[in-house]
C-alpha cells in the first residue's frame, strides 16, 4: 500500500507533549487534517473543506472536554458527540484513529466496503449516530439527552451542525421542542464556515441572524472563533452553567489549514465559488496540501519541543485515467432543459443547493428569472412548486433522490392531489456511487412515489433517452412525472437502436437471446445487464436485455408480448426489490394473466445499500454483471469458464465512443 498516514504513536507523542496546551491541540488537529487528506485522496472522494473547518472543535472536545475516552462508549454517563452534517467525517475518523478507536487499516478504507462509510454510521465504533442527511442532529441529540435524564445518567450531549444545514426546517422544530421540554444538557455547535456545497450560505438562502433566531427560540447563544481553543473552552463552560439548551456559533474557515483550500474563486456569475467541498484533490494539490500541513506540523512540534513527528512523505502511483469521455446522463437532461426553455416559457427550474451536481448551472446562468435556488429546504421547495403549479407554471424540481422522495414526501402527495403537474427530478438515484453511503444512496424512491396515482416514473439509460424523456415530462405528459437519474458517469454509453423512438410504456431490446429475458433501466444497471449477456454469450446462453424506462407504466400488451417466448424472466434494478419496476411488471403480468408458468425473479436491493467502490457494492448486492450472469444461468462456476476481462475488453474496443 503506497498511502501512508501519521501513526497513532505520533499522536500519543503529541498529546504527551508539554508546553502550551493550545499549541498541543493545534498540532494534534493539524495531524488529523494530514490523515484526513490522505484518507480522502486514497478514497478518491470525501469532504475536506468541512473536515478542516471542524477539526479544531472536535480536537478540543475530545482532548479537553469529554469523558468518553475514560468511561467508554457503552457508558450511559458518557459525553456524547456526533456531527449532524456528517460531511466532516474524514476529519472525525482521523481523530478516532488518533485516539485509538479506529484502526489504521480502517482509516485507509474510507468509503470502502467493510471500511468507513462516506457519512457517519452508528455501526462504526466511536460513531454515536448515523448522519449525512441534514437537519436531524439536534433532534437526535434531544433524544440522547432525554434518555440520559430518564435513566438519571450523567454526561452531556454535543452535536455539530453545518451552517447551510440551518436551512432545514427540522432544525427549528428541534430548537423549539428542546427549549419547551427544557432539555438543558444539549450543546449544539455550528461549524459556521460560511459555505454550503459550493456557494456562500448567504448567496444560496441566507440564514442570518442565527443568534437572534436561536435566542428567539429560547436557546442560550454564544458566538466564538472556532479555531480558538480558549474561546471554545470558555463558551462550553458558559453553556454548561446555563439552564437552557445551548448553541455555540463557531466562526470557522472552510478548508482551514491548507491555504489554497481556504480561498474561494469566482464563478461565471461573479459569485464566490468554493471548490473543495467534496471530492479528492488531484495529485498536485494533494502533495501541495501535504507539504503545507507537514510544515505546520514540524513548526508546531518544534514550538512544543516534541521530537519530530513522522508525517510520512510518500509517492503514490499516478492513476491512469481513462481517456474516453464518459457520458453523464444528467448533463443531457440539463442541456435539454436549456434547449426547451427557448420555446416553452411556462416551466421553471428549482434546486436545493445542488445546482452543479444536478447539471443545472447552465440553465441557472441562461435563465436566472426561471431558476429558483431554494437552498437545503426540500419541504419548502416542494410546496413552493405546488403554489407555482396552481398558478399554471410547470415546476421542474431538482435535488438528490433520497432527500426529495423521502423528506418532501407529504408535500409531494399534497401537490399531486391537487391535479397540477410538477416534474420531480430525483438525481443520484440508485446504489452507485456507493462511497457516500446510505444517507445518499437512493434505493426507495420508486416505492415512495409508487402509490401516488398520478405520477409517471421514468429513468433514461443514456443521453438520447434523457433528452426525449425530459421533453416528454416537461411538454407532453398530462400528469406529474418523477425522473430518476443516475448521477455518476455512465460506465458505458448504452446504445439504443438507430430507429429508437420513445413510446410510452414500451421498452427497447438491447441484445437478443433465447434463453432468458432481463429487463432493467438506467446506465448503471443496464451496463451490468449487458456485461451479463456478454459473459453468458461466451457459454452459449442467449440473454435478451431490455431497457425499460417506464418504471410504473408498463404497457400490458407490450409486456405480455415481450415475455411470451421466455420461461425465465428477470428484472434488475438499483432499487429495493420492494416497490420497484419488478413489482410493477409482476403486477401487470398477474393482472393480465400473462405470467403463466414462467419464472419471474426480481434482482435488486434486499438490505440497506452498502458503502464502497461501485464494483465492491454491486458485487456485495449480487448485482454486478458476473453475479447476474450466474443467477440468471444458474451456473455458479461461470467465472471459471470464461475470461471476464477479455470479454470486457472485446466489447470496450467494439463500442462506439
Amino acid at each position: 500500500m503506497s498511502f501512508r498516514i501519521i501513526r497513532k504513536q505520533e499522536f500519543d507523542k503529541a498529546r504527551a507533549a508539554g508546553g502550551d496546551w493550545a499549541t498541543r491541540l493545534e498540532l494534534f488537529a493539524a495531524m488529523c487534517r494530514y490523515n484526513a487528506l490522505v484518507a480522502v485522496k486514497k478514497a478518491g472522494s470525501g469532504h475536506l473543506g468541512s473536515s478542516f473547518s471542524a477539526a479544531d472543535i472536535i480536537t478540543y472536545l475530545y482532548l479537553e472536554e469529554m469523558n468518553v475516552l475514560d468511561v467508554g462508549f457503552d457508558s450511559d454517563d458518557r459525553d456524547v458527540y456526533f456531527s449532524s452534517k456528517g460531511h466532516d467525517v474524514p476529519g472525525f475518523y482521523s481523530l478516532l484513529y488518533a485516539l485509538g478507536v479506529v484502526s489504521e487499516e480502517k482509516l485507509l478504507m474510507l468509503r470502502r466496503l467493510h471500511g468507513l462509510d462516506g457519512h457517519p454510521e452508528a455501526r462504526i465504533e466511536g460513531v454515536e449516530s448515523s448522519t449525512g442527511s441534514l437537519g436531524m442532529g439536534i433532534s437526535k441529540a434531544k433524544g440522547f439527552a432525554i434518555a440520559k435524564n430518564y435513566k438519571k445518567a450523567g454526561g452531556r450531549v454535543f452535536v455539530m451542525t453545518g451552517d447551510g444545514e440551518w436551512q432545514e426546517g427540522q432544525i427549528f422544530e428541534s430548537l423549539q421542542a428542546a427549549a419547551h421540554q427544557k432539555v438543558s444538557n444539549i450543546t449544539a455547535i455550528i461549524d459556521h464556515n460560511k459555505y454550503q456545497t459550493d456557494m456562500l450560505v448567504k448567496d444560496v438562502n441566507n440564514i442570518e441572524d442565527i443568534r437572534a433566531k436561536a435566542e428567539a427560540f429560547g436557546w442560550h447563544v454564544q458566538r466564538v472563533n472556532g479555531h480558538d481553543y480558549a474561546a471554545l473552552r470558555d463558551s462550553i463552560k458558559a453553556a454548561d452553567s446555563d439552564e437552557r439548551p445551548s448553541l455555540i456559533i463557531a466562526d470557522t474557515v472552510k478548508g482551514k489549514g491548507v491555504s489554497f483550500m481556504e480561498d474561494p474563486v469566482t464563478d461565471a456569475s461573479g459569485r464566490a465559488y468554493y471548490k473543495w467541498h467534496a471530492g479528492a484533490p488531484d495529485d498536485d494539490h494533494f502533495y501541495k496540501g501535504l507539504v503545507e500541513l507537514r510544515k505546520t506540523i514540524v513548526a508546531l512540534a518544534e514550538k512544543l519541543g516534541v521530537e519530530p513527528i513522522d508525517a510520512p512523505e510518500f509517492e503514490i502511483e499516478a492513476k491512469t485515467s481513462s481517456k474516453a469521455t464518459k457520458e453523464f446522463v444528467a448533463q443531457h437532461y440539463g442541456d435539454a432543459l436549456v434547449e426547451l426553455a427557448k420555446t416553452h416559457d411556462r416551466f421553471m427550474v428549482m434546486d436545493g443547493d445542488l445546482s452543479a451536481d444536478c447539471k443545472l448551472r447552465d440553465f441557472e446562468y441562461a435563465y436566472p428569472d426561471r431558476f429558483i435556488e431554494n437552498g437545503i429546504a426540500e419541504q419548502d421547495m416542494a410546496s413552493t412548486a405546488g403554489g407555482l403549479a396552481l398558478m399554471g407554471i410547470v415546476p421542474v424540481v431538482n435535488t438528490f433522490a433520497s432527500f426529495l422522495a423521502a423528506r418532501a414526501n407529504e408535500q409531494i402527495y399534497n401537490n399531486a392531489g391537487e391535479g397540477t403537474k410538477i416534474i420531480w427530478t430525483c438525481h443520484y438515484a440508485g446504489l452507485i456511487p456507493a462511497g457516500p453511503g446510505k444517507s445518499h444512496q437512493s434505493v426507495r424512491d420508486i416505492s415512495l412515489f409508487g402509490a401516488l396515482p398520478n405520477v409517471t416514473i421514468v429513468q433514461p439509460c443514456n443521453g438520447v433517452e434523457a433528452k426525449a424523456l425530459t421533453e416528454y415530462c416537461v411538454v407532453e405528459a398530462k400528469e406529474n412525472c418523477m425522473m430518476r437519474l443516475n448521477i455518476g458517469p455512465s460506465p458505458e454509453t448504452i446504445q439504443l437502436p438507430d430507429d429508437y423512438e420513445l413510446k410510452v410504456g414500451h421498452g427497447t431490446a438491447l441484445t437478443d437471446g433465447d434463453d432468458a429475458l432481463l429487463v432493467g433501466y438506467g446506465p448503471v444497471m443496464l451496463h451490468e445487464a449487458l456485461l451479463a449477456s456478454r459473459y453468458l454469450k461466451e457459454v452459449g446462453f442467449g440473454l435478451k436485455v431490455v431497457n425499460m424506462p417506464w418504471l410504473n407504466r408498463p404497457n400490458a400488451e407490450w409486456l405480455a408480448e415481450t415475455v411470451k417466448p421466455y420461461k425465465n424472466i428477470f428484472v434488475v434494478e438499483d432499487h429495493s426489490v420492494v416497490g420497484g419496476l419488478g413489482d410493477w411488471l409482476l403486477n401487470s403480468l398477474n393482472e393480465n394473466d400473462a405470467l403463466g408458468d414462467r419464472k419471474f425473479r426480481k434482482l435488486g436491493i434486499y438490505d440497506y445499500p452498502e458503502c464502497g467502490t461501485p464494483w465492491e457494492v454491486l458485487d456485495y448486492h449480487g448485482l454486478d454483471g458476473m453475479s447476474l450472469a450466474k443467477t440468471i444461468s444458474g451456473d455458479d462456476a461461470l467465472d471459471s469458464k470464461i475470461d471476464a476481462g477479455e470479454v470486457e475488453k472485446k466489447y470496450t474496443a467494439d463500442a462506439p465512443q
Copy 2:
C-alpha cells in the same frame, strides 16, 4: 331536508346595509358562523373552534380587501387567499356560499361524497389550494407569489396559518426562503387562538415569541386583535407598504361568537382543555349555539337598521344512536401500553399533539416521565426517537399515519438504518373515517415503510389482537415495527377463534368457504369482507375470509397452504393497491412458485381516497361488502337476489357484544 341555513339573499341584504362598516362585517361573520354550525352539525363532524376564530379575518379580507370577486378566480391578477391549517374550512365554505361561489346544496354536503371535503380541496370553486396537513401554506403562498412575479401579474397572496402549526419546521424553511428570495407580495396571518387540538399551544410545545422569531427571519411583523376589523385593515395596509414579506399575528378567541365554545375546561392533570376543536356539538349545544348566534344576528341587524335577517329556526330529528358500545382498537392498544409499562421500564411513548385521538391520555397521566408530548413536529419527533433508541430506549411513536409515514419518512429511514428498534404507531390508517378528506386519510403508509428492510408492519383486527401485537412489538420483536391502527369505532367486533394465538406471519380464518379466498386486515375491511361472505352465503357461494395482521411478513409456507385449495384469491385493503399486503402476498406466492394458474386479484384504492360517509366512500372505491361480493363472485346482479338488510340484521343479532 330538515337542516336549514341562512340563505344567500340574506347575506346580500347584510352586505348592502348602510351604517357602520365594521358592524356590517360583524353581522356577516356572525351569519357565516351560523351556517358553519349548521353545516358541521349536519356533517356530524368538522372544526368549529377555528372556523369561528378565523371568521372575522376572512370576512374582512373578502369583503373589504381582496379583488378576487371582481376579477374572478381564473385571473392571474387576483388576490389569492387560502388557509394553510385548513381546519377552519367550514367557516370558509360558509363565506364562499355567502358570496355566491358555493351552492346551498354543496354547503349542506359538507364531508359528503361529491360535496365539500372536510379539509380544503383545490378542485372546489373558490378554494385556491388543498391543505389540511400543517405547515405547508407559506411555502405554497411563496409559489403563488413567485409565479405572479414571473408572469408580471398583479394581486397579493394571503395565507392563514394556525398557531400550533408553527411547531412545524417547514414554516421556518418558508420564512427563511421567502425573505432571502425577497418575495414581498405575501402576507401571512396567524389565527392565534392559543389552542391546538385540545390543549394550549404553550402547554404542548410553546411557540412564543413568534414576533421575535419572524423578525429574526427577516419578516415584517405586526400583532393585532383578529376580531377588530379596523386593526386588520391598518395592518394589511402596513403590510402592503413594506418591502418584506409580512406576518400579521392576529390574536383571536377559539370558538369566538358562541360563549360556551369560547371557554376551556380543565383536564385531569389540571391543564386547560378545549372541547370544541373538532366534532359536531350534541343537539343541546347545537341549539344553544344557534340561539346565541341568532340573537347576535338580530341585534346587529337592528343596529344597522337592516330588515330582519332570516336565520331559520328549525328542528332536526334526534339521531337514535346505537346502544351497543363499539370497540375502538386503539383503546386496547393504549390500555396495553399502560399495562406493559408496569413491568417494562425501557420504553417511552411519544405523541404529536394527538394524545386523546391516539388513546394515550391514560398513559400520559400514569407515566408522565415516560411520555413525550412533542407537538406538531413529526420530523423532530422521529429523530428524537432515534436518539432515544441509540441510548437503549424503545420509543413508541404516535401520530396519524399520513403525517408520520410521509412527513418523517427520511428520519425513519435514518433511524432504521442504525439498527435500533422503534415502534411507529400509525393511527388513523386507511380510508375510513372519510370525512376529513385526503390530507388525513392514509392509504400509502404500508408502501412508505415497505422498502425499509427491517420494519415489521402489522395491523390488529380487534382488541385482543391489538393487545397481542402491542406486546409483540414493544417486547418481543427484534426489529422496528410499524403498527397500523384504524381510528374509528370498529363497525363490528371481529371475532377471532377461541384458540387464537398470535403467530408471526400467519393469518387466521374468520369464515370457511370453498369457492374463493379473501385475505384482509383491520376491523374496517374485515367487516366488509365478512359482509361479502354473508351475502354470498345466501346464494350458496362459499367465501373463506382470512385475517392477516402481518402486512409485510407473510409466512411463505402458511400462505402456500392457505391458497392451495382455491382457484381465486383476493386481497382487500384500505390502502393503495400499490405497495400494500396484496403486493407482499403476490411476491411471496411468485417467489415460491405457489401461484400456479390461480387468479390473484388486489382490491384496494386505485385513486386518491374520496371524502364522504364510510358507506359512500367504500362504495365509491368498490370496497363495501356488496361491491366486494359482486367482484368476487362475478355476479353483478347479486344485490337483486338477496336482501342485504336482512342479512346484516341476522348477523348483528347473532354477534356477541
